[in-house]
């Protein structure tokens, strides 16, 4: 049905397919990159036994989290420009979940910067909570959102979302949310194995190995349910089947890789798992961008939701010129910060600390500015 719609629109240039792929790539990139940021944020509650532990964890993503979040902004902007109706229906339809995501991202984003600005334990604890909840809520809700997009939500013929907030909280979507939550947590734990040392690293590895089987189970359950949904809708099921199978396989193998101390490969595996999950969703959406549960005739597709061909052409030129550049410098920044982050209080040959190591802890303790007069400075 949707396919015929796509081919029936004569004025379109084929760039819609290109932009559909670009947006899929942006979401995959966002899940892989901000995925481990979210994971680190969630694991702060488990792995961060004291303030210094938590600082180590936060500093593993400190230089890069903001750049990772830009993938979301660009995905949003690209959807706005390339598929205005998709952007409009999705964002107005999923209004409250988006508000929750935005609120979470606001608190989480300022928490990274503000947390270190005072040493008051209550201050730091409050921002730790902000980072934890600010990571957990979007990690859950992105899964809920994408599961709903694929499952279908009540969309009218005018592309207006007719459901309520609670329509979005169906069991399938909630399973999707749990799946992304676990995936991001696992991805973050594996990232922590790669970026920390000593005790935190051991704990991260243990956490990852506990999370891995549960995550595998969630991915299997979610993809099986997705398969059944597609099958019941008289589609052929999940196509091509290789992609969801690869998603399951790469998550299933993480536990073994960690046991063999192949942390780098474990990270590749969680990343591939996330990419294949996003790919499964987008491949099975295609050529739709949002499924209407009312009637297939009301589905938003890459044809009926697309922007003007001229806009797509301009955007394509800009993207082709600047995307490689962005990838190069963002990749370079990861190279600059490739070193592990160590707990400064534990000097030792393995943590690669310079001679200034002891003073780091001291500076952490004295980083609070000259005591402000009571009633001023901060809202503590």
């Amino acid at each position: 049905m949707a396919l015929t719609l796509a081919s029936a629109a004569p004025a379109h240039s084929g760039l819609e397919v290109f932009w559909f792929i670009i947006i899929a790539i942006l979401w995959a990139g966002y899940f892989v990159l901000e995925g481990f940021d979210f994971g680190i944020g969630i694991l702060l509650a488990i792995l961060g036994r004291d303030d210094l532990d938590r600082r180590v964890l936060i500093n593993t993503i400190g230089p890069v989290w903001d750049g990772n979040e830009v993938w979301l902004l660009v995905a949003g902007g690209a959807t706005f420009a390339a598929f205005p109706d998709w952007y409009a229906t999705l964002f107005s339809g999923f209004y409250l979940p988006l508000f929750l995501i935005l609120a979470a991202l606001i608190f989480r984003g300022v928490a990274f910067e503000f947390r270190a600005k005072r040493t008051l334990p209550a201050w730091r604890l409050a921002w730790d909570h902000a980072i934890f909840w600010g990571s957990l809520i979007p990690a859950l809700l992105w899964g809920v959102a994408f599961a709903n997009i694929l499952r279908g939500v009540p969309i009218s013929r005018h592309f207006t979302y007719l459901g309520s907030f609670f329509n979005l909280l169906n069991p399938y979507a909630l399973l999707g949310g749990v799946t992304t939550l676990l995936l991001f947590a696992l991805h973050g734990a594996v990232f922590a194995c790669l970026k920390t040392t000593d005790d935190i690293r051991r704990r991260a590895s243990r956490a990852a190995r506990v999370l891995a089987p549960a995550t595998t189970a969630a991915v299997v359950a979610f993809l099986a349910w997705t398969y059944l949904n597609a099958h019941n809708a008289h589609d052929t099921g999940l196509v091509p089947p290789l992609v969801p199978i690869l998603a399951i396989a790469s998550i299933a193998v993480v536990e073994w890789l960690l046991r063999e101390r192949l942390d780098g490969w474990a990270f590749v595996a969680t990343a591939v798992g996330l990419i294949c999950l996003v790919a499964t969703i987008f491949l099975n959406l295609y050529p739709r961008v949002m499924v209407s549960s009312i009637s297939p005739a009301y589905d938003l597709t890459i044809a009926n939701a697309a922007s003007a061909p001229y806009t797509l052409k301009v955007m394509t030129v800009v993207a082709l010129i600047f995307t490689p550049l962005v990838l190069v410098y963002q990749g370079w920044s990861y190279w600059v910060f490739r070193a592990r982050v160590a707990r400064p209080a534990q000097p030792g040959p393995a943590n690669g600390l310079g001679p200034e190591a002891p003073t780091l802890a001291a500076s952490a303790a004295t980083s609070d500015p000259a005591p402000a007069p009571p009633g001023q400075g901060g809202t503590s």
């Binding site: 936060i58 979301l72 706005f80 964002f91 609120a103 600390l353 809202t379």
Partner: protein, 472 residues
């Protein structure tokens, strides 16, 4: 109801966001200048230390401020789809493009190189570290350029045609070279510099005053900062006014109603006078008012006796063109926001001129009255920025895209309860953040030399496998 609530939410979000953005744009450039000076004076210990010290001090305020600008920017980008979905459908082909390009060109640049700048000291060479703050600065300006291109299109749509029920882009170059954009971009850019210059001036003045009161020698870093701020601020305020004036002429041509509403001019007149202030009714029976003869004609038309169109005439023309309805913005809002903005600008100009004169006479550090005024003046650019945006956005009403789409046709059909929830939620979040930010900014601004940031003093040799310092 949904319409009004959505408008409040948009206004609150945008104004809150724009409390932080100008400071980010201005401080990024000033920090780049300071760090460049430090880099170039690295053979001269005293000068190098002074510039380094300045960079270290102001960067703290910059980073506190930057964080909020970033996170509110996400709301800014998503709220079009959330609350203004009919707008998004209508304009996506034109308006979405600069937004997407802003993300790709500006946001990645800013965020990546800010990470390098905060965490990279000692991990990249001094030269790359310096380049990174310049790239952050370029990123902030590019961001302003693209978002203002989108806004300029709402003020004066160009490079499009209407196909069916939507506006479709036909010429991207025309969108990016919109005559409205040139003036507004430079006006915003220079006002951002004014904002950061006045912050630096005010905070430095506070420290100079404090040292003076404690009979201590003033800290050289604040005397130097105040001088830099005075020079940059003076140039920037003149440029802001120049491009603001340029915008007034563009506005008279493109949105005559906004100009008339700014002045509360009801009937077209030649050699129009400029109303300085009005007490009482704006519609023609004021209790008291001060008017400067011919000034409005000069502003709007660049001539002594040029015509300035009146609200009644424009209203009649608009009805003929776009159908029945009121095309008047809310007059007291446009009239007063315009005056407050211009008034703040004039006060800042006076203050900066006085400061320059004192600086030339080498009395700046000791001039208590000037320093005290400078502390108070920190608020002025924020007031001017806010009223300026309220004026330009409210003055365009009832249109969301001038002449094309009315605001009432742009809003999402979502339940009032949802909008109430998010309006209350966002307002609460912003208030909390504003309080925290204000607390932190004052704390660090007052801290002076005694504030130390973790990671500040751990300059390492550029190495490869050293553990990064814990900055956060």
């Amino acid at each position: 109801m949904t319409l009004d609530l959505s408008r409040w939410q948009f206004g609150i979000t945008t104004i809150f966001h724009f409390m932080f953005v100008p400071l980010t744009i201005g401080l990024a450039l000033l920090l780049a200048i300071m760090q460049t000076a430090a880099y170039r004076t690295r053979d001269d210990m005293a000068a190098h230390e002074k510039w380094n010290h300045m960079t270290r001090f102001w960067r703290r305020l910059f980073l506190i401020n930057f964080a909020i600008g970033v996170v509110t920017g996400i709301v800014q980008e998503f709220q079009f789809g959330m609350n203004w979905s009919l707008y998004s459908r209508y304009v996506g082909s034109v308006f979405g493009a600069p937004l997407a390009i802003e993300g790709l060109l500006a946001f990645f640049l800013e965020s990546t190189f800010l990470g390098i700048w905060i965490f990279g000291k000692g991990r990249v060479s001094a030269r790359v570290h310096l380049a990174s703050i310049w790239l952050v600065s370029v990123g902030t300006m590019l961001s302003a350029l693209f978002i203002l291109a989108a806004n300029a299109w709402m003020q004066h749509p160009v490079g499009y045609k209407v196909v069916g029920n939507r506006a479709v882009m036909t010429n991207f170059w025309a969108v990016m070279t919109n005559s409205t954009l040139v003036g507004s971009f430079l006006h915003v850019l220079f006002s951002a510099l004014v904002t950061s210059a006045l912050l630096i001036l005010g905070v430095s003045a506070w420290h100079l005053l404090k040292d003076q009161r404690a009979r201590e020698a003033h800290q050289p870093v604040f005397a130097a900062s105040a001088k830099l701020a005075l020079v940059v601020g003076s140039v920037a305020i003149v440029a802001t006014m120049f491009f603001g004036d340029n915008q007034a002429r563009v506005m008279e041509r493109q949105q005559p109603m906004k100009m008339a509403a700014a002045e509360a001019i009801y009937n077209t007149q030649d050699g129009a006078s400029f109303s300085l202030l009005t007490i009482g009714d704006l519609s023609g029976n004021p209790i008291f008012q001060i008017r400067l003869p011919h000034l409005l004609s000069v502003l709007a038309d660049n001539s002594w006796n040029g015509p300035v169109q009146g609200i009644n005439q424009i209203q009649a023309k608009e009805v003929a063109k776009s159908g029945p309805g009121s095309y008047e913005p809310i007059l007291w809002v446009t009239y007063w926001t315009f005056r407050i903005m211009v008034g703040c600008g004039i006060v800042m100009l006076g203050l900066l001129a006085a400061g320059l004169w004192l600086m030339r006479r080498r009395r700046l550090e000791r001039s208590a009255w000037f320093l005290r005024l400078s502390v108070l003046a920190i608020a002025l650019p924020f007031v001017a920025n806010t009223t300026g945006w309220i004026f330009t956005e409210m003055g365009r009403q009832p249109w969301v895209v001038y002449g094309l789409l009315k605001t009432s046709q742009a809003v999402s059909h979502i339940g009032t309860g949802y909008v109430v929830t998010t309006l209350v939620g966002f307002t609460a979040i912003y208030s909390l953040l504003a309080a925290i930010d204000f607390g932190l900014m004052t704390r660090y601004a007052r801290g002076g030399d005694r504030v130390d940031e973790p990671g500040d003093d751990h300059e390492r040799e550029p190495g490869t496998d050293q553990a990064p310092a814990l900055i956060y």
